[in-house]
């Protein structure tokens, strides 16, 4: 069972469709003085919401979570600890490397942020200097949010050395648009359900079982120091245990462009714009999946959480109902004969929280030039294996499908589309022989990145230790048998994982991809260096 008192509520609570808090506020800060930073953490620690605290009132009183970026971890003297993982644990190394580098350094190579999304064109707070921490607040009512914000504002005002860099505020829409994002689609329906998380699981949330039914994902996919889907326990040191990694991304949505494009494709092909949009997303605007409602929207189906997400792509190998490259099919292929296998899919799941920012553009209205979009947060235990992998291989490429053959044809909704001769297209197969397949040519980029950063959501104990400058207790090293999965090199007794202070400067992590495996391993490098030395003599 997970220790819900230790895990911050943003990790496992309030991310499902319909349960997300209406008002969300993020305050980004940069620390300049270590003592002040610790004192600030100490002051705010009693208000930080754990999953257990969230369960008491469902977050009605407002929720505060604190996430730290690598520069802050380094400042507190734990950078060396993250470094200790590098040499001993390949998987965790990739995750730590991503976290260390930060989003800006990896945006172009791993996340496809180029052209108008390029980091050089991001908003200044995300672009100029790395952020240190974010205070994530949310509440179902404006008053509750104001209360939480008030206490955070007071605390920040009390420590002059803490630089308040930037604020982001988002709110879900009311009435007919409740739960929808700016393009008009219900958002956040397919979410992973986590084993031992103590909440309800709906069909479709986890991993498809062999014939029917769904099983929950193991908690290590989202909570550090827990067994994951590979049977491994990564990040077992007390510092990381029960924490999680949080990806923050500010995504601007070009609503006018999207509506114009969809309308023009619909007119050329004699169908409705709703049909074109639904085929691009894989769901109708209400959230009803094309796999269950292929011909027309079915709001009744969308309202039933037991049905809205309960489908696989087994009997739709050629994309007749849900096109092969549709947004939801790419990002969560479930069981798909044309896509990656179930074994592979479950290694790349993410928990998403998307909150719209900016005013809603009324249906039929012309684009008013106002910026609007989504404050997008991802929770995962391994940024490289989960978020970055999905973004790189599934959203911005086609390599996991046995039918999609154009690498330039990317996710039609959120993909980083090229322009000019390399522009992507989107093909909607047609079942009638008298009609050609619908092809949407020259897809524009409907979503551009305005900024973002990678953070760690530490456990409450770790936050306490940071606030009080307490080094974590020495690691209990048990002696696993040789063939157990625990026999990982990181469990070696000679590696002291509890070393809390920086002793030597951390090496520069690789922020550009070693796409090809032709990077020699450390051992190979060492051997080569030794051989070289002998050669030279």
């Amino acid at each position: 069972m997970l220790d819900l008192r230790q895990i911050q509520s943003n990790v496992l609570r309030g991310y499902r469709y319909g349960t997300a808090a209406k008002f969300v506020h993020y305050t980004f800060v940069r620390f300049t003085d270590e003592a002040d930073a610790r004192a600030l953490l100490e002051r705010l620690l009693p208000q930080v919401t754990s999953c257990e605290a969230y369960d008491r009132d469902g977050g009605a009183q407002g929720v505060l979570n604190i996430a730290l970026a690598y520069p802050a971890i380094d400042m507190f003297g734990y950078g060396g600890q993250a470094r200790a993982l590098d040499a001993t644990d390949d998987e965790a190394t990739a995750a730590v490397e991503a976290f260390k580098c930060g989003m800006r350094a990896r945006a172009k190579a791993y996340l496809g942020d180029d052209g108008s999304s390029a980091p050089d064109r991001w908003e200044a707070p995300y672009r100029d200097e790395r952020l240190h921490a974010v205070f994530a607040m949310n509440a179902p009512t404006s008053d509750a949010l104001q209360r939480v914000r008030g206490s955070v504002d007071d605390a920040l005002a009390a420590y002059a050395s803490v630089v308040r860099v930037h604020d982001e505020a988002g709110a879900h829409f009311d009435g007919e648009w409740a739960g929808k994002e700016h393009f008009g689609f219900a958002d956040g329906i397919a979410q992973p359900s986590v084993l031992d998380a103590g909440d309800e699981a709906y069909p479709g949330d986890g991993t498809p079982k062999k014939r029917r039914g769904w099983s929950r994902l193991r908690s290590g996919e989202f909570v550090l120091g827990q067994p994951d889907e590979l049977g491994q326990v990564q990040f077992r040191s007390a510092f990381f245990k029960n924490g999680s990694f949080m990806v923050f991304r500010k995504l601007q949505q070009h609503v006018g462009l999207y509506r114009d494009y969809v309308r023009s494709v619909a007119e050329r092909n004699d169908v409705t714009p709703e049909f074109v949009g639904a085929k691009m997303v894989g769901r109708w605007q209400s959230g009803a999946p094309l796999m269950r409602a292929p011909d027309e929207d079915d709001p009744e189906l969308a309202r039933d959480p037991h049905k809205a997400n309960d489908f696989r792509y087994c009997d739709d190998e050629f994309g007749d109902r849900c096109p092969l490259g549709a947004h939801i099919r790419r990002n969560n292929p479930r069981e798909d004969p044309s896509g990656p296998g179930v074994v592979q899919t479950k290694l790349h799941r993410i928990i998403r929280r998307a909150t719209p920012y900016g005013p809603q553009l009324e249906p039929g209205a012309d684009d008013d030039g106002t910026e609007r979009g989504t404050l997008f947060v991802v929770i995962n235990a391994n940024i490289a294996r989960q978020f970055e992998f999905v973004q790189r291989n599934w959203v911005n490429s086609v390599l996991s499908s046995t039918h999609l053959t154009f690498p330039n044809d990317r996710d039609p909704l959120i993909g980083a589309q090229h322009s000019g001769p390399r522009a992507g297209k989107y093909l909607v197969p047609n079942t009638s022989r008298n009609r050609a397949p619908l092809i949407a040519w020259d897809l524009p980029r409907f979503v551009t990145t305005r900024g973002g950063e990678y953070f760690l959501l530490p456990s409450l104990d770790t936050l306490y230790n940071l606030a009080h400058d307490v080094p974590p207790p020495p690691e209990q090293v048990d002696c696993p048998t040789l063939d157990s999965p625990d026999a990982r090199p990181d469990a070696r007794p000679d590696v002291d994982q509890s070393v809390p202070r920086r002793t030597s400067p951390a090496p520069q992590p690789a922020c550009v991809p070693d796409t090809k495996p032709d990077q020699p391993s450390v051992g190979t490098k060492l051997r080569a260096a030794l051989k070289n030395a002998f050669d030279d003599e």
Partner: protein, 403 residues
């Protein structure tokens, strides 16, 4: 790429043939020869491979490595007619490998001869290289034959010649441009654009009644063969692995590998066809008990490794299971498998190819589409009364080749 239900009669025949031949010839087959015999039947034609293993002259290694690791240095200055992929790598500070995948053995020899200047610069560091350099075709041929490595396993995902692949890729791009331009236009526009399209010289290659003589300038085949470092995930890349084979496992794994080659080359079945990203794979045994595995694959390494563990785990476990240090749980234990591969991989110093920016699926669907288009354009002309309807039917029947 088209849907098929069940086992076709042809596949059944092949499988039966494979079983019978397995019984008869297991263990007796020689390793795969890279040199095309003159009388080889047509259906066995296709990309072939050789690897040259050269001893680096003492004290020349550092200079050679500098040359190979220099991203601006490209030994090949001409177009690579008949060459699919090539790579250089070194092991043990005294051995240079040159691995090439080509259509005809003489393509490879001529390719090296034409680029004699760059080739000599590299091979000049190796002992035994002909004095006259690569320009001396006869001496070069002798040198290659003396130094080539026996290929135990050779797997190829397609049997098509390099020039045909290039033409098919260009043709599909041209066809898409035609579709895009004619989308939403009038019937007259469609006929005019279609008339232009059927004149596409790349179509000729698939009409066997005509001679295959598209000028190089009209195809994509006039590009220089570049040996460059690879960075983008959409592109094709090399993977090379050198690992020790367990004692007593050598004979067993050799039999298995030769059988795999026999199935791929002679029977035309694809034991690894479940892997949508693997272009070529080849295995040699070097130094008596080391396995040298080299492959050409698409995209991200993690994706590739996961595909191994999820799509062809059984085959991979059989082959790599004979290696020292292979994880007990096999390739399904992705972390241990990845660590195993990383620990034993050999750095490929230089890699080049004729279509580095095209994935395997792109190549395969382009080939299928160009075949379909050759038939379609022969039966339907620009003045056909029902051109629009026939084109719609064609698109419907081949829509998966356009996704």
């Amino acid at each position: 790429m088209t849907p098929k239900d069940g086992l076709s009669r042809r596949d059944f025949g092949r499988a039966a043939g494979a079983i019978i031949t397995t019984g008869l010839f297991t263990g007796c087959r020689p390793c795969f020869s890279p040199f095309t015999p003159e009388s080889e039947p047509l259906h066995r034609r296709g990309p072939r491979t050789f690897t040259v293993r050269a001893k680096v002259s003492p004290s020349h290694f550092r200079e050679l490595r500098r040359l190979l690791n220099d991203p601006t240095h490209n030994p090949f200055k001409t177009d690579a007619r008949g060459i699919h992929y090539a790579r250089f790598f070194t092991t043990g500070h005294d051995t240079l490998y040159f691995m090439v995948i080509y259509d005809e053995y003489w393509n490879a020899v001529h390719f090296l001869g034409k680029n004699a200047e760059g080739v000599d610069e590299i091979f000049g560091h190796c002992s035994g290289f002909p004095r006259g350099g690569a320009a001396d075709a006869e001496a070069l041929d002798r040198y290659l034959r003396d130094n080539f490595l026996c290929v135990e396993l050779f797997y190829r995902a397609y049997d098509t010649r390099q020039s045909d692949i290039r033409d098919a890729l260009v043709l599909r791009d041209n066809f898409l441009s035609f579709l895009r331009d004619s989308d939403g236009g009038t019937d007259a526009d469609l006929r005019a654009l279609y008339a232009d399209f059927v004149d596409d010289p790349h179509l000729l290659n698939h009409d066997k009644s005509k001679t295959n003589d598209v000028p190089a300038a009209l195809t994509a085949a006039n590009r220089t063969f570049q040996l460059t470092p690879i960075r983008s995930p959409d592109r094709v890349g090399p993977f090379t692995l050198l690992a020790r084979i367990k004692d007593k496992e050598l004979k067993k794994v050799q039999r298995l590998l030769r059988l795999g080659t026999f199935a791929t080359i002679d029977l035309g079945v694809r034991p690894l066809k479940n892997l949508p990203t693997l272009h070529f794979a080849r295995v040699s045994v070097v130094d008596r008990n080391y396995m040298l595995f080299a492959s050409v694959y698409d995209g991200d390494f993690i994706q590739y490794v996961e595909d191994f563990g999820t799509r062809i785990a059984k085959e991979i476990d059989k082959i790599f299971g004979s290696l020292v240090g292979y994880p007990m749980a096999g390739s399904r234990d992705i972390i241990a498998f990845k660590a195993f591969l990383r620990a034993r991989q050999v750095k490929t110093n230089a890699f080049g190819g004729s279509y580095l920016d095209r994935s395997l699926l792109q190549i395969k669907s382009s080939l299928a589409l160009s075949k379909a288009l050759a038939e379609f354009t022969q039966s339907v002309g620009p003045s056909d009364r029902r051109l629009g309807a026939k084109l719609r039917h064609f698109l419907h029947d081949n829509q998966l080749l356009l996704t």
